[in-house]
Each structure stands twice: as C-alpha cells, then as structure tokens.
Amino acid sequence: MRRLLRAAQRAGRGLFARADSAFNALYTWRYNPLYHSGALVVACFLILTVTGLYLLLFYRIGAPYDSVARITDQAFAGRWIRTLHRYVSDLAVVAIVVHAFRMFVQDRAWGPRALAWVSGVVLTLVFFVCGWTGYVMVWDVQAQLLAAEGARLFDFLPIFDEPISRAFVGDRPMPSAFFFMNLFAHIAIPVGIALILWIHVSRLARANVMPPRPLLWGTVALFTLVSLAWPATMAQEADLLRLPTDVPFDVFYSFPWPITRALPAGVAWLGLGGLFAIALSVPLLTRPGPADGRAPSWVNPRFCTGCEQCYHDCPYEAIGMVRRDDGREGFVALVDPSKCVSCGICAGSCAPMGVGPPGRTGRDQLAEVRAFIDLAQPSAESVVLVACRHSAGGRRRSDHATPVFPVPCVGALHTSVIEYLVRAGAAGVVVVACPSRDCWNREGVTWFLERAYNQREAELQERVDRRRLHVAYVAESESAKLEDEIAGFRASLEALGGGSAEATIDIVALCDVPEVSVTEVEA
C-alpha cells in the first residue's frame, strides 16, 4: 500500500505541476485558485451559510417541494440564490478534492500534520452528509433516490428496530417529522463543520482561511452570473409509487449512489468503510522513516539569545520560550517535537544560527555553501541559483555559468548563505522560490522576503548589494519562466559588472552570543 501511495504521490505531483503552471500563466500565482483551494472551501462555506439563511425563511417542512418551487419562482431573488447555494456547494466539493489531493501529493499528511489530515477527512464526510440532507429537503426525484438508497444502506446495520426503508414505500404521506429532522440536520451539521474546521487549522500559526479578495469576489461574481444565466430548475416531485425516470443528477454529491445501488448493502458498506479507513490512515502510510532526515528541530541553548524570532516564525507553533536554567538571564527557545514538521524555517530565522533540524542549521548551511563554492568555483559572471527543491530550480541542471545550490525551502535558507555567495565572487544570486501560497512549509517564501528586504530578524546584511539578488517565483514545471528570469537578471547585472571575491569572508552572527564565534562552532 505504501508503494502504491508513493506512486500516486509522484503521479499527482506531475499533474499538479502542469496544472499549476497553466493556471499561473492565466491568473498569476497570486490568484491561482489551485493554490487557494483550502481557503476557497471556507469561502464557499460562508456563501452557503448566507444563502442558506435566506432560503430557510421560505422553506416549509409541511410542504417541502412546493415551498422550494415557490422559492424557484421568485425571479428576482429566490431563484438565483437557491441556484447559487447549489452551485457553490458543488464548487466546495471540487475545492475539497483539490485541497486534499494537493496535501497528499505534497506529503503533508503525516506526523504533526496528521490532526489536520484526519480532521479534513472527517470534514469531507460531514460536508457530504450536509449536502445529502440538503438534496433531500427538496423532495424531488433525486431526493427520493437518495433517501431510498440511504435507507437501504442503514437497514443493513443493526441500528434500527424497524427497517427505515419502510418509511419510503408510499403507503402513507411522508410525515413532516421526517422533514423537520432532515432540516435540523442540515442546519446543525454546519455548526459541526465550523467546529471541525477550527480543529483542522488549530495547529497552524496565522492560518490563511480566506482567499485573496480578487479571487474571493471574482468567484462570487462568476457563480452569481452563472446562477442568473442558468438557474437550477425543479425536477419532478418525489412519488414513492412511481420509479423516477428523468433525474437531474448532481454528480458532486450523488456519485456514490449508482455504484452502491448495484451492490449488496454489506459490500457497499465495506467499500465505503474501506475508502474512509484508507483516507484516515494516509498519515500512517506516508510517514517517513527515520532515514529520511526529517528529524525535528533542536535548539542549542548556548547560542540562543532568547530573541523569540523562531518562536514567531514557526508556521506550526512548534516552538515555545522557556526560562533559562543555565545561569544566563532570560528565556531560551524550546522545540516541541510532537508539533515540529522539520520544515527548517526556524533555521532561517535564527541570526546566531542556534536552531534548526539536525544538519540544516544556519551553521550547517554555511559549511555547505563553503564546500559548494570550493566545488563549483563560480566565476565573476556566474549567477548562482539558490533553489527550493520543489520549484523549477530544483529540477535545473547545474553548470558553471549558473551553479545550483539546492535548499529544502527558501524559508529555511539562512541569509548569510546569500551573503557568502556574493562575497565569494558570484555576479548574482537568484533565489528560486515556489509561489508563496504554494510553499510546502506555508510561510517560507514570506519570511525569506521579509529577511532579505524588510529587515526581519536574521536579515540579509546591508553590505550585500540587493541588486545582485533576485527572487524568482516559479512552480515546479515552469522551467521556461525560470530561464527567462535568469536571462533578465543577467542583463540587469551587466550594468553592475562582474562579482568580486573577497579573500576572507567572515560571516558574523549579529546577535550577542557570549563566548561563541562561528569559526569556533564550525571547528
């Protein structure tokens, strides 16, 4: 199973790389909906709440079909609001699938992120249940089929004394109590959704729960327009003494039923339960082994000055500050390994280079870049690519004119690496980052930019000429765009002339670390 999932992840990554590239070209990476799928689900949920409240004013449990028909007859409001409610609920399913699949292929389901994954799977199920109750509310032919199939499946379970299928045989009118319970579920479930959503993002610092405004309002406007132009119609009313013939079928919500209907109820439950179990066990099945080098970060208390920057920058709230017990005043950072995903962003945030995953701290990066310079020997015309391995730069071949220094994430990159490269004589440095909303570590790109250009702690030193630094946001399959960016940067460097190598490069960790120097630690 693990091997199968890994193969699915690889295939999915290729699929997303191509789709991202196409959508970036049309919508730019800032508004690429594929990068905002999770936030789009929340936006859909809010739209559904608002439109649902309006529909609730007119819905009658004593005459469900007639009341929905009356809403549909309201040419100026009810018709398009009901349609918008329906189409946006479908869009939510699309966004959920994209979001879940993206997290899966980016291997972001295991370890501390398992809570988000598992709550996401539960959210998806609850969202579907809410959708099914919504369709039953209309009590048209699709509702009839949904109710009958749901009852058949539940009758297999030893829960109810009397088969609930007998409620849908047509020997008596459907009681209002049924529609009341259904309406209650349709209203109560979203409250549960809000609660699970809170759990879903509870381990994220500064969770992005809303898409950028142009994308949000563009989506609302687009679906309102489609709702006005192509309103949902009323299907035939449910008639339990007649088999429905023409059924308008909502593929997004009703897709399981033609499959389950063809199966015995026990087999259908086995299939549905099996899928749910596999989805829930993805964190276990994709968990990396100990040899994968994803050990949690650690803090060297000797170097830690208690500046709190790693505590602020950690995207998963995995770092806390505790009082020192080594005789020095103040606080020291402490990593909670149960929350750390080993993203390494703390390594980039620490000016004295005292925190990070083993082998990836700022000091490790400096040692690595020294070895890189010795090996690559960049000339005064060389442009060094410091490339996130998930971006197009991660796939680019290294050559003398543009040697590639790969990093796991630009957010984990210590700015002293860039300083070292420039002072070692490279003409320029291109930091190749993923589009910021697609950062696999959530805030890596954001923090890098702040450190490089806005003096965020662990900042790029002022002595580094910013004209020799360029940041390219390129998704994995945007190789052509990367080449364009490199060429453009090279052209801009011509005015500056080639780089000049310094004989001795002393990188200073700015924070005041008592009795410690970088040289000492590296030794």
Partner: protein, 173 residues
C-alpha cells in the same frame, strides 16, 4: 497581463463554472418505460410459540427479587412463510424469522421485485408456520392477496397489510 490572456482567463473560469453547473444537474435516466416494481411492505406482531409454566416456590426463592417473574416460558416467535407467485410461478418463497434474541420482536417484510409492465395474476401468501399440534385461539394465521394486477410503466405496485381487515391489499388502487 495581455488582453488576450485576460480574455482566456475569463473564458476558462466561465467554462469551469458552467461545467460545475452542468454536472450539478446532469440529466440522467433512472427507470425506463419497461421498468416497474412489485413492492411488499408490512409489519405484523408475530405469533408466540412457547410453552409456559408457573415457577415453583423454590425457583422463585432462588432468584433475585427483581427477577421473580411468575412464569417461565420456553419458545419464541413463530416463523412465517412468504410466497409470491406471478402468473402461477413462484418468484419468492422464503421463511422469515422474527427478530430479537428471543424472537419476540415484530416481523417486518420489505421486498422489491423487478417487473415488466403488463397484467399479472398475483398471489401473495404470508402465514405462520406452527409446530404440529400447536393450538392458537382466535389469532390470524395467514394474510394473503390474490388477484389480477395491471402494472403500468414505471409503476410501483405496493402490497401492504390493511390494518383494519388484516388482509394484504394493493395500496393506491
């Protein structure tokens, strides 16, 4: 962003939204004109087939106070036989057991049988299977429907128990 690219971006967004709208109400055919259904649905309180005797004083003494029921019964609910014939051919012939660990729960019958539209001689018989020599006073042992049914295309012919006559009847006729 060039004008052409903006147009393309808008067109793609619109196409995706229209795809969502279409898939939201994709026209499908569930039943055809040559489909119909015979549905059996009823509930009966099953007959009790058990022998009871009073507990002796010693037995009562041996039980905890809250368990001292005056009688001890052996047995349970009667099994029922369900027979459905269409034009003289049996399409269902089953034995139905009462639910519950002691077989003392009501019996529910719920069956769907696919049919083609047309006229049928339908016979449905539902009767208790009693052990030989077991006497029942005044209880209804069998419920039956016997008659011609005309089945229209896509019609669901529902046979249910009339609570007043305790006969199986066709509902909606």
């Amino acid at each position: 962003m060039t004008r052409a690219r903006m147009l393309l971006a808008g067109a793609l967004a619109l196409a995706l939204a229209l795809a969502v709208a279409w898939l939201s109400q994709a026209p499908t055919t569930y039943a055809r004109d040559d489909d119909a259904l015979l549905r059996l649905s009823w509930r009966v309180e099953g007959l009790r087939v058990e022998e009871c005797r009073p507990r002796t004083a010693e037995e009562l003494e041996a039980l905890a106070p809250h368990m001292r029921t005056p009688e001890v019964c052996v047995g349970g609910g009667a099994d029922y036989e369900l027979l459905v014939e269409l034009d003289g051919a049996a399409v269902v012939h089953d034995t139905i057991r009462a639910g519950g660990a002691r077989g003392d729960r009501p019996i529910y019958v719920y069956r769907d049988i696919d049919l083609s539209p047309g006229r049928y001689a339908l016979r449905v018989a539902f009767g208790a299977l009693l052990p030989e020599g077991f006497a029942v006073d005044g209880a209804r042992l069998t419920h039956a429907f016997d008659g011609q049914v005309d089945v229209a295309p896509t019609e669901v012919v529902l046979i249910a128990l009339d609570p007043t006559t305790a006969e199986l009847v066709r509902v909606g006729q």
